[in-house]
Amino acid sequence: MNGAGLQLLQFLLVLLLAPGLTGLVRKTKARLTGRRGPGLLQPYRDLIRLLRKEAVIAENASWLFRFAPYLTFTALWLAAALIPTFAQRLPLSPIADLIALVALIGLGRFAMALAGLDIGTAFGGIGSSREVMVAALAEPAMLLVIFTLALLLGTTSLPDIAGYLATTNVGLRVSLGLGLVALVIVAIAENARVPVDNPATHLELTMIHEAMILEYSGRHLAMMEAASMVKLLLFVSLIACLFAPWGMALGEPTAASAAIGIAVYIGKLILAGLVLALFETSIAKMRVFRVGEFLATALLLGLLAVVFLFVSKGL
C-alpha cells in the first residue's frame, strides 16, 4: 500500500462514512425517543436528491454566495483527510499540524458565515453573528487543549501524537481528562449539536448553523450539508485520534493492518454516534445567551488542564 494510495483511501473513506455517521445518530435518536426514524442510508439519499435539484439563489447573491459552499466543503474535507484514522503515517499529514487544522476549520466557518451575510436577510445575520460568538470562545479552548498535549508530549504533529499515545502508557492524567471534556464541549458547539443549537429545527430563536445556510438550495445545499456531516466526522476522528488512538496501523501499514485499522475506526465511529445520540436526547437546548458561559467553562477547563500539567508532572 504505497503512500498516494493510502491518502486516496483516506479521502474516500472520510467522504463515504460521514453521511453514515449522521444517519446513525439520527436513527438512534429517533429510536431512543420511541420513533422508527429514517433509515441509515437516508442522508445519502438526501444528498443525491439535492444534487439533482435545480439551485435557486437570490437576485442579489454575489459570486461569494455561489463559491462559499465549495470552499467550505473542500476545507473541511481536506482537514478530515489529514487526521490519521486507520493509518498513522499519511503522506499529506506533515503539511498541517494541529494548530493549522484548527485554522482550516476556521477557514470553513469564515466562508460559511460570510455566505450567511451575503443575501442581507435577518436570518443570515442571526446565524453568522451567533456563529462568530461561538467561534470566538471555542477556538481558544481548542487551542488550549492542543497546548496541553503539545506541552505534555512536546509535539503538535498529529501522527506523532497518535503514535506516542498509542505506544507508551501515559497513564491516567488529570490534564488529559480535562482536555477531553473541553474538546467534547467544543465539538458539540462547533457541530451545532443539541445544547448549543438544534440541527433539526428551523426555529429562528434557536438556530445558529441552519440560519446561515437558509438561502441555499440544490447542489449548493448538498455541499453545505455534506460539509457539516464531514465536520462531525472530523471532530469524532480527532477525538479518537488524540484520546483513543489504539488499533491504528502504526508505522508502514500493510494490507492486513490497514483492514484492521479501518474496522477498529468504524467501531469507534459507531460507538461515538451512539454516545452522541444518547447525550443529545438526555439534555435540553440552552438559551443562546447561556452558550457564552458554557463555552467559557470549556476555556477554563483548557486553562486548568495546562495548569495541572505543571502541578502534577512537576515539569
Partner: protein
C-alpha cells in the same frame, strides 16, 4: 533617500510616481544588502547635527530588514496614491509633505547616533501631524483634536526616548550608538533606559495603556497616509524597541545573559498580550471602518510585542535557539501586518472615495458595486484573521510554536506567564477573525444601506493595481514564507550572533521550526491541495448535478422584506460578543427606549462604550494641568504692590539663605 520636497503644483501624477521609484529603489538596495551583506556595513557621515558629533548613518541587518518592510509598503501605497490623489480637495497640502514623511521614516531606520535618530523621529511625527491636519474642514471638529492629541503624545514619546538616550549616553555625553554599545553602565541606568524606551516607543507603536491617540489620529489622515502610519510608522516604533532592548543595552553582542535579564521581556509580553486582546475587543465595538482598522493595528502590534518579549525571555534564560524563533516570528508578523494593513487601509480608502461613507452601518452590498476592491479587502480580512493559505496565519503559527517551546524555561513563573500569553494570543486571534468577518460582512455584503453605497463605482485603475499587488504578495508570502525568513536570518545573526534556527530546517516547500517530528507546515502544498480539491469537487458536482441555476427572490423563511433596515447592522452583529466581554471591560451601557404600545415612534437603541485608557489615564492628566493652570492664572492679575512684595519676599528669602549658609 532624501526625496526632493517638491512644492507639487504639478499634482499627484508627478509626486507619487517619484516616491514610488524612490521607495522601490531603497527596498531593493536594503534587500540586497541583507541577502549578501557587505563586509563592513557602510557608515555615511554627514556634517550636520551636533557640532562635535557628525550625524552617523549606517545600514546594518536590523535597519535593512525594516527598510525593506517600510519601503515595499511605501512603494505600493504610492501606486495606490496616484489614483487616490486625484480627488484630493487641497492637494497642495498633502503632496509636498508625503515624501518628507517617508524620508523621515527611512532616516530613523538609517541613523546610527542618538541625535540624528531623535531628529528623524520627531521629523516623522511632525510631518504626519501636518498630514493628519491636511484634510480637515473645521478646526473645532474631532480632526483638530485628534491631531493635537497625536502631536502631544508624539512629543511625550519623543522626550521619553530623549531621556533614555541621555541615560544611555551617560555623563560623557557621547551619543553615537557605537559608543553607547561599548559604554559600561550600572544596572539601574540600563533599567531606567529600557523603561523610558518602552514608554517612548510603546506610545508611538500603540501598546495598550498609551494607545488612545492611535484610533483618533490614523483615521483622520487621508487613507493612503493612514496606511503608511499604521503599516510603517508602528514598525519604526517597534524597530526603536528592538534597537535599544536587543542591541544597545546588551553590551557585547551575543553574550547570553547580558542586558537587564528577563524582566523587560516579561513587561513586553504583558503589554503585548493586553494590547492584542483589548485591540481586538475595541475593534469589535467600532463601526467606523478606519477606526476599526486602527484598533486592529493596536492588536497586531501587541502580537509583535509579544513575540519580542518571548525572544527576550528566552535569550535571558539562555535558550538561544528559541529566542531566534520568537524573533523570527515577530519580524515575520511585522512584515505581514505591514502588507495586510496597507491593503485594508487602501481598500478602505477606495471605499471612502467611491461612497464618501466611513461608517460600515451605512455601507453594504459593495461586493457587487466594487468587485475588485471587495475581493482584495476579503483577502486582507482573511489574512488578518490568520486563515491558513495566507501569510497572517504563518506568523501567528510561528508565534504559537515559540510559545510551545516555553516548557524548556527554568523559572516556574516564566513558564506559566508564557502559557497564559499563548491563551491570550489564541483569544485575540479568534476575536480578530470575528472583527474582520463583521467588517467585511456588514460593510461589503448584503443590501446597500445608503444611497451612496448603492451607486458606488470603482476607483482609478492604479488603485486596483495596488490592491491586487498587495493581495498577490499576501498569497505569495503565505505560500512561501521562506522569502521573508531569508531576510530575517541576518537580523538574528546580528542580534543573537546565531542563525535563525527556523531557516536551518526549512526549504521553500516546508517550514520546520524545530524538527519534522515536532511540527511542520507547508504553505505551498496546503494551497495546492485546497485549490486542486476545490477544482475536483466543482468539476464532479457540475458534471453530476448539472449547471442549471435560477434567480429568485430571497427565501427568508417566507416573508421577503426588501427594506435594507431589516438586515443585521454592525452593532447588532457584535451584540452577543459585547454581552460576553463588554459589560466588564468597557462598562458598556445599552439603553433601549421602546415606543409606548400603540405609538408609531421608532424605538431607539443607544449603546455607550467607554474607552478605559481615556478615562483613567488621559482625562485625569488633562484635568490636573487645567486645574493647575487656572490656579496659577491668578498670578497674572495681581496689583503692583503685590508684585513688589513678591519681589521683596524673594530677596528676603535669598538673603536669609545667604545668612544661614555664611
Amino acid at each position: 533617500m532624501g526625496v526632493a520636497v517638491a512644492r507639487g503644483r504639478a499634482g499627484h501624477l508627478f509626486i507619487y510616481p517619484i516616491s514610488f521609484l524612490a521607495s522601490a529603489a531603497i527596498a531593493l538596495t536594503a534587500g540586497a544588502s541583507l541577502l549578501h551583506p557587505p563586509i563592513d556595513a557602510p557608515s555615511a557621515i554627514l556634517p550636520i547635527g551636533l557640532p562635535w558629533l557628525e550625524a552617523h548613518f549606517r545600514i546594518d541587518a536590523l535597519s535593512a530588514y525594516f527598510l525593506v518592510v517600510v519601503n515595499i509598503l511605501a512603494a505600493i501605497v504610492a501606486i495606490f496614491a496616484v489614483g487616490y490623489g486625484r480627488h484630493e480637495e487641497e492637494p497642495h497640502r498633502v503632496l509636498p509633505i508625503y515624501p518628507v514623511f517617508v524620508a523621515g521614516m527611512n532616516l530613523v531606520l538609517l541613523s546610527d547616533d542618538a541625535f540624528s535618530f531623535l531628529v528623524a523621529w520627531e521629523f516623522m511625527s511632525l510631518s504626519s501631524w501636518l498630514l493628519v491636519l491636511a484634510t480637515q474642514r473645521e478646526p473645532g471638529t474631532s480632526q483638530a483634536a485628534a491631531a493635537y492629541v497625536y502631536l502631544v503624545m508624539a512629543a511625550i514619546g519623543g522626550i521619553a526616548l530623549l531621556l533614555a538616550f541621555g541615560v544611555l549616553a551617560g555623563v560623557a555625553g557621547d551619543y553615537s550608538f557605537a559608543a553607547i554599545r561599548t559604554a559600561s553602565r550600572g544596572q539601574a541606568a540600563t533599567a531606567a533606559a529600557i523603561l523610558l524606551t518602552l514608554l517612548g516607543a510603546g506610545s508611538k507603536a500603540g501598546l495598550v495603556p498609551l494607545h488612545a491617540w492611535l484610533p483618533l489620529a490614523h483615521p483622520a489622515a487621508p487613507s493612503h497616509v493612514s496606511a503608511l502610519m499604521s503599516g510603517a510608522m508602528t514598525k519604526v516604533a517597534l524597530y526603536a524597541i528592538l534597537r535599544v532592548l536587543f542591541d544597545l543595552t546588551v553590551g557585547a553582542p551575543g553574550e547570553p545573559s547580558g542586558g537587564a535579564g528577563w524582566w523587560p521581556g516579561l513587561i513586553l509580553i504583558f503589554l503585548g498580550g493586553l494590547s492584542a486582546v483589548m485591540g481586538a475587543l475595541y475593534a469589535l465595538l467600532e463601526s467606523d471602518l478606519k477606526k476599526l482598522l486602527a484598533y486592529s493595528t493596536v492588536e497586531n502590534v501587541g502580537i509583535v510585542a509579544l513575540g519580542l518579549g518571548l525572544a527576550l525571555v528566552f535569550r535571558a534564560s539562555g535558550l538561544a535557539g528559541l529566542a531566534t524563533l520568537a524573533l523570527g516570528a515577530a519580524l515575520l508578523h511585522a512584515f505581514n501586518h505591514a502588507l495586510l494593513k496597507g491593503l485594508l487601509f487602501c481598500g478602505a480608502g477606495a471605499v471612502i472615495e467611491a461612497t464618501g461613507e466611513r461608517d460600515i452601518e451605512r455601507l453594504g452590498g459593495l461586493i457587487r458595486r466594487l468587485p475588485a476592491t471587495s475581493a482584495c479587502f476579503l483577502i486582507g480580512a482573511a489574512g488578518l484573521s490568520a486563515l491558513p493559505p495566507l501569510n497572517g496565519f504563518v506568523s501567528e503559527w510561528l508565534t504559537f510554536q515559540a510559545i510551545l517551546g516555553g516548557t524548556q524555561l527554568s523559572l516556574w513563573e516564566l513558564k506559566f506567564a508564557v502559557v497564559v500569553a499563548g491563551a491570550v494570543l489564541a483569544l485575540a486571534a479568534a476575536l480578530a477573525a470575528a472583527v474582520f468577518l463583521r467588517a467585511f460582512g456588514i460593510g461589503f455584503l448584503g443590501r446597500p444601506r445608503s444611497a451612496a453605497a448603492a451607486v458606488a463605482i470603482e476607483g482609478a485603475p492604479s488603485m486596483r493595481v495596488a490592491l491586487c499587488l498587495f493581495a498577490a504578495l499576501c498569497f505569495l508570502l503565505g505560500a512561501v514564507p521562506l522569502l521573508v525568513l531569508r531576510l530575517a536570518d541576518p537580523v538574528s545573526q546580528r542580534l543573537f550572533a546565531q542563525p535563525l534556527a527556523l531557516s536551518a530546517g526549512s526549504t521553500w516547500l516546508w517550514l520546520v521550526p524545530f524538527s519534522t517530528g515536532v511540527s511542520s507546515y507547508s504553505g505551498v502544498v496546503l494551497l495546492a491541495a485546497l485549490v486542486g480539491l476545490a477544482f475536483v469537487v466543482i468539476l464532479a458536482v457540475h458534471h453530476f448535478a448539472g449547471r442549471r441555476l435560477r434567480r429568485g427572490p430571497a427565501w427568508d423563511c417566507g416573508f421577503p422584506d426588501p427594506r435594507p433596515e431589516t438586515q443585521y447592522s454592525a452593532s447588532s452583529f457584535a451584540q452577543p460578543l459585547r454581552r460576553v466581554f463588554g459589560t466588564s471591560l468597557f462598562r458598556v451601557r445599552e439603553h433601549v427606549d421602546m415606543a409606548a404600545p400603540g405609538e408609531m415612534a421608532a424605538s431607539r437603541l443607544l449603546v455607550v462604550t467607554r474607552d478605559l485608557a481615556w478615562d483613567w489615564l488621559y482625562r485625569p492628566i488633562a484635568f490636573a494641568v487645567d486645574g493647575l493652570a487656572s490656579r496659577l492664572n491668578l498670578l497674572q492679575f495681581l496689583t503692583i504692590r503685590r508684585y513688589l512684595s513678591l519681589m521683596f519676599m524673594a530677596l528676603a528669602l535669598l538673603l536669609i539663605v545667604v545668612a544661614v549658609l555664611q
